[in-house]
């Protein structure tokens, strides 16, 4: 049994966000249920409610999937239709789980969950890996994880109890997944044999697999780096708003409030403002608790500069020596998320960082084959759940950061200017 978080005694490794992906019936909900129950992310009264609901549905066993299917429509149809967020803590870390549905018609939810994840847990059903290898959905989910820049993947080979905990089965699947990871471009992959139903190797090592010395799934998740907001990448500080003090007492306070999306910002640092190109020095990094010598990726602060510059919401503060480029034309990988298809005649609003700009999609260059996500075909439009390469023109300059190099700033969304719907997730390509 894992003791919950105790900030007094152990190092607090912050927050790890991960997404779970798997085909229908791989046992994903059971695995999450297992993690939540064993790490006390689920409490007795919730379990009692699940037990009552399981009995009403006539299922003899405790159906842990009922923990994550929160909406009426989901319980009626017995499927998961939306991302659910779950929380649990181990002694060293808080976890945020985005549980994305496995049904292929809900790909947009997988993209949504993956966009904020540091890691992905991909479930593979050990009983359903045939002669032709992994299931198409496993391939697709892995390809989406790679596309969305998830750097760490843990493959949970589930239902090992149903294949007699045969080491050869596990190793064959691990080998197949290595090939897949190589094909889609996932670099950091680890495999764990588990039984979500019986709990082996989830939070404690099971006795059924003496050939597997660990680590458990939870131990892996505790050790993975949470690097979506990365201090090692170049400084990117999008200004959210200008804070000015009111009243006569405060003398002329003017600070630029925002969150560091990547990199490190130091007091005294020479910085450049984009798009104006003006230079300034950081006079102080303010918080309610006092000034900081430096702020790191992920931190919300208020920055004061040593001179008056033209700087407001939508602008960026970057390092003075940074070679960041701006432009009004870009190419991107686009995941279309709206029911009404991409229409080049329509106006969209492109949101990158804190800037929103009018945008037109000039051309769709190609579309990924939805069944393999590896072949590209010619296409004129993108429909709901399609992924394709596009060229976009924007009215105001955007920061041309490739998503592959910096996912925090290479990401954008398109909002339909007429309906206000979030229409697409975009990932900029290198120019």
């Amino acid at each position: 049994m894992n003791a919950p978080l105790d900030p007094g005694r152990l190092e607090d490794r912050g927050v790890l966000r991960f997404i779970t992906a798997g085909s229908v019936d791989d046992g994903k909900s059971t695995l999450i249920g297992r993690l939540l129950v064993e790490a006390k992310g689920v409490l007795a009264d919730q379990l009692a409610a699940v037990r009552r609901a399981s009995e009403r549905r006539g299922s003899g066993e405790l159906d842990l999937s009922l923990l994550t299917d929160g909406l009426e429509a989901e319980r009626e149809q017995g499927i998961t239709i939306d991302v659910a967020y779950r929380y649990f803590s181990s002694p060293v870390r808080k976890f945020i789980v985005a549980d994305a549905p496995g049904h292929e018609q809900y790909t947009r939810n997988m993209v949504t969950g993956a966009s904020t994840a540091d890691a992905a847990v991909v479930l593979v059903d050990a009983t359903r890996v045939g002669v032709d290898g992994l299931l198409p959905q496993t391939r697709r989910h892995s390809a989406i994880a790679a596309l969305l820049g998830i750097r760490h993947v843990v493959v949970a080979v589930n239902k090992m109890d149903l294949v007699g905990w045969e080491r050869a089965v596990f190793e064959r699947i691990a080998g197949l997944y290595d090939d897949l990871a190589h094909a889609v471009g996932l670099k950091d992959v680890r495999c764990v044999p588990v039984s979500a139903l019986q709990g082996d190797n989830v939070t404690r090592l099971g006795s059924s697999s003496p050939w597997y010395a660990g680590p458990t799934l939870l131990a892996l998740l505790e050790a993975l780096p949470a690097d979506r907001a990365d201090a090692a990448r170049p400084l990117r500080f999008p200004v959210q708003l200008v804070i000015r003090a009111n009243g006569a007492a405060a003398e002329d306070y003017r600070g630029y409030a925002g969150q560091l999306w990547s990199g490190v910002l130091r007091a005294g640092q020479e910085v450049r403002i984009l798009p104006s190109g003006e230079r300034a020095r950081v006079a102080s990094i303010d918080t309610l608790d006092g000034a900081l010598a430096q702020a790191v990726a992920g931190q919300s602060v208020t920055v004061r500069l040593d001179r008056d510059v033209d700087l407001s919401r939508g602008d960026w503060i970057v390092d003075d020596a940074d070679e960041a480029k701006l432009g009004t034309a870009l190419t991107a990988e686009l995941c279309w998320l709206d029911r009404s298809p991409l229409d080049p005649r329509r106006k969209y609003l492109l949101r990158q960082g804190t800037r929103t700009s009018l945008a037109s999609v000039l051309a769709v260059e190609d579309r990924l084959d939805v069944s393999t996500l590896s072949e590209r075909r010619e296409a004129a439009a993108l429909n709901l759940n399609d992924i394709g390469r596009v060229r976009i023109a924007v009215q105001q300059p955007v920061l041309l950061d490739a998503y592959a190099r910096n996912p925090a700033t290479g990401a954008f969304i398109l909002v339909d200017a007429a309906t206000n719907q979030t229409a697409a997730a975009g990932m900029m390509r290198a120019t």
């Binding site: 659910a84 779950r86 870390r93 969150q259 609003l349």
Partner: protein, 305 residues
């Protein structure tokens, strides 16, 4: 180029705090007319602290708004007023009582819970004040419908939530855009758990209404809950009142909020109890959530917080 980072990593509370501050600043920048829902409860006390961190030395760019059922604990109302005054921020109060007088709220009986009626008063206030955003302290760990709700959650012109047609929410690029008459509900502490909230209250030394800590109170036992004995909630036939040491885990309408047995006199002691509890916050304390598997989802669709 890679930079060596000497600074300590953000711990989990730093991470949550920074995310919430960024969300509050987005509301200030993207919405024309927002309000922060402040009841005096612990989650909204945390919201106020986060707003100070987001906007000081400036004033908050939005007023505080409380939807008063008229059935609140007097000390919570006193705390609410004192806290708003201390911060020097504007507090607006809109009352279910006024909705009843207008005829827009009709209760099945005079002593019925006014919890669900708050939705009507809230939607009336949103219309009256022309709000395009309401900031609330709901958390995803509270309830399974909330677990699926966006941080910027769209409400149509009728104030309704459609859980099957939510806007996808990607990265930290929030979509706050609405047409006239529509609004968004924004939940800056979506990713916090009950334990995170208490750890933050302890770390920041935040004051709370005293009924969040152990005190002796007259209660009756009813369907596994401890029901406080008040003029609004007298003991039923055959029930015996007893004095127990209790604290409230949530504070809402008197008619549906129950305390739990506790000896915890301060935030550290509450954290210790929270670490070992078997029952969720709402499960131990809310009579209104136990009606059906979907009672929160249905209330939320109708405009509830």
């Amino acid at each position: 180029m890679s930079i060596e980072v000497a600074a300590p990593r953000l711990d989990h509370l730093d991470w949550l705090e920074s995310e919430s501050i960024a969300i509050l600043r987005e509301v200030a920048a993207e919405c024309a007319s927002a309000a922060l829902l402040f009841s005096g409860g612990k989650d909204s006390v945390v919201l106020l602290r986060l707003a100070q961190k987001a906007f000081r030395p400036a004033r908050f760019p939005f007023p505080l708004l409380h939807i008063d059922t008229g059935h609140n604990f007097p000390e919570v109302i006193a705390f609410r007023d004192a806290r708003a005054a201390e911060l020097g921020e504007r507090l607006l109060v809109r009352s279910v009582e006024d909705s009843i007088a207008r005829g827009s709220v009709v209760l099945p009986s005079p002593e019925a819970s006014r919890n669900a009626a708050q939705s009507v008063t809230l939607l009336e206030a949103i219309e009256e004040l022309g709000l395009d955003a309401c900031i609330g302290g709901a958390r995803r760990d509270e309830e399974k419908a909330r677990a699926k709700e966006r941080i910027f959650s769209f409400r149509d012109a009728f104030g309704q939530w459609d859980p099957k047609a939510q806007r996808p929410e990607l990265w930290n690029l929030y979509n706050a855009r609405v047409h006239k008459g529509e609004h968004v509900r924004v939940f800056p502490i979506s990713n916090w758990t009950e334990l995170d909230v208490w750890q933050y209250i302890a770390r920041e030394g935040l004051a709370l209404p005293s009924l969040y800590y152990a005190h002796r109170r007259e209660v009756v036992r009813r369907r596994g809950l401890l029901v406080p004995v008040t003029p609004l909630t007298p003991p039923g036939a055959g029930e015996t009142a007893e004095i127990r040491s209790v604290r409230f885990r949530t504070v809402g309408d008197i008619s549906c909020t129950c305390p739990v047995e506790s000896e915890a006199a301060d935030a550290e002691a509450v954290i210790a109890e929270t670490l070992v509890t078997d029952i969720t916050e709402r499960g131990a304390t809310r009579m209104d959530d136990q009606t059906s598997e979907a009672s929160m989802e249905r209330r939320k669709r109708e405009g509830y917080f």
